[in-house]
Symmetry: C2
């Protein structure tokens, strides 16, 4: 056991996911050698997390009512990319390939973990897709299902596709993000499922 | 890039040793789902680090002028265990085998990294060892060199032994912590240096 304040901070770091007692100790000893202003900036950054909530439209993290993407008038509101978590939004934004809006489900279907469609923001997605503009047309024209290519993510995408098909919106374009070999990957070391997907998803040249 | 406050906290975590951008992001997303009071307790634990300094006697971390060990009148001031870092004190305290005091060097000699004896608290150790009590006797009777059994730690122990021998204190007992097989270890998997040390350090039964 360390002196009170040292042990307190070790305990706090130790409560974070993936940080054990040894790592927590190492971090605190690092901070013991850091300038006072740096510690204060860290503490204030922590307290500033209070200001962060979730976007009322897409459920991405947001400092205000809308997230930066939903609040940006240059984004195309007719396309919605459906992702599991807010961090997936950042991953997709880094590609600079998509100029539409997002919809964060808050996870993937996982019956064993009790994650049912009611626990995800499926109803909110359906409301967005069926929202009608003042001129009588639908705002959303395209939905890209970008849940992870895992068992749960695939099941979620399949479920959402079925739900979207029941909406009586035959004009709606629904697609699924492609699976295949990662760029820079090697056929020899690819697992057979990924390789099979890459083959099935081949495109003519 | 995330919303301002989120990115700020990711940057702060990312500045810690051994925490990359992905881990920092994971930690912040964890904290986004945590109760407000828990965040505040974390921030206050960080700010409380201001109160932590170093023991004026042994240079262990201390909330006051002396660390808890030096301030404890039940500890035997005649024995000093010399360690590299404050965290080594905690490791040794967990054994409950030593009831003396400590001396934290602040590292090990490493000429390549510019860690010379002047950069460590060697002079302070010599002052403690040569300190005379009011009745004219030396307070310190035993020094146990507990630097790590690494190249740098061994060099530091050898250096300290030479320095202690120049002090004209032939009554001083100087020892080195034992190297050998870890308890629960296996001869077959021990490296040859450790095994050689364990053999050399054999004791009669």
């Amino acid at each position: 056991m360390y002196e009170g304040p040292v042990q307190d901070l070790i305990d706090e770091f130790g409560r974070l996911p993936g940080i054990g007692p040894k790592s927590a100790q190492r971090l605190v000893f690092h901070l013991l050698g850091v300038e006072r202003v740096d510690i204060e900036r860290f503490a204030h950054a922590l307290l500033a997390l209070e200001k962060v909530g979730f976007c009322t439209r897409c459920h991405n993290v947001a400092a205000g009512e809308l997230c930066r993407i939903c609040a940006n008038p240059k984004r195309d509101p007719s396309a919605i990319c459906v992702v599991e978590e807010a961090r997936d939004v950042v991953a997709l934004e880094r590609t600079h390939e998509f100029n539409g809006l997002y919809h964060v489900l808050g996870g993937a279907l996982s019956p064993l973990d009790g994650i049912t469609p009611e626990r995800l923001r499926v109803r909110e997605l359906m409301e967005r897709v069926t929202a009608v503009e003042p001129n009588g047309t639908y705002e959303v024209q395209e939905v890209i299902l970008c849940t992870n290519p895992t068992v749960d993510g695939e099941a979620t995408a399949a479920y959402l596709l079925r739900e979207l098909q029941t909406l009586d919106r035959s004009d709606l374009a629904v697609s699924r993000i492609a699976s295949g070999l990662p760029v820079g990957g090697d056929l020899e070391y690819a697992d057979e499922v990924t390789l099979g997907r890459a083959l099935a998803g081949r495109h003519s040249l």
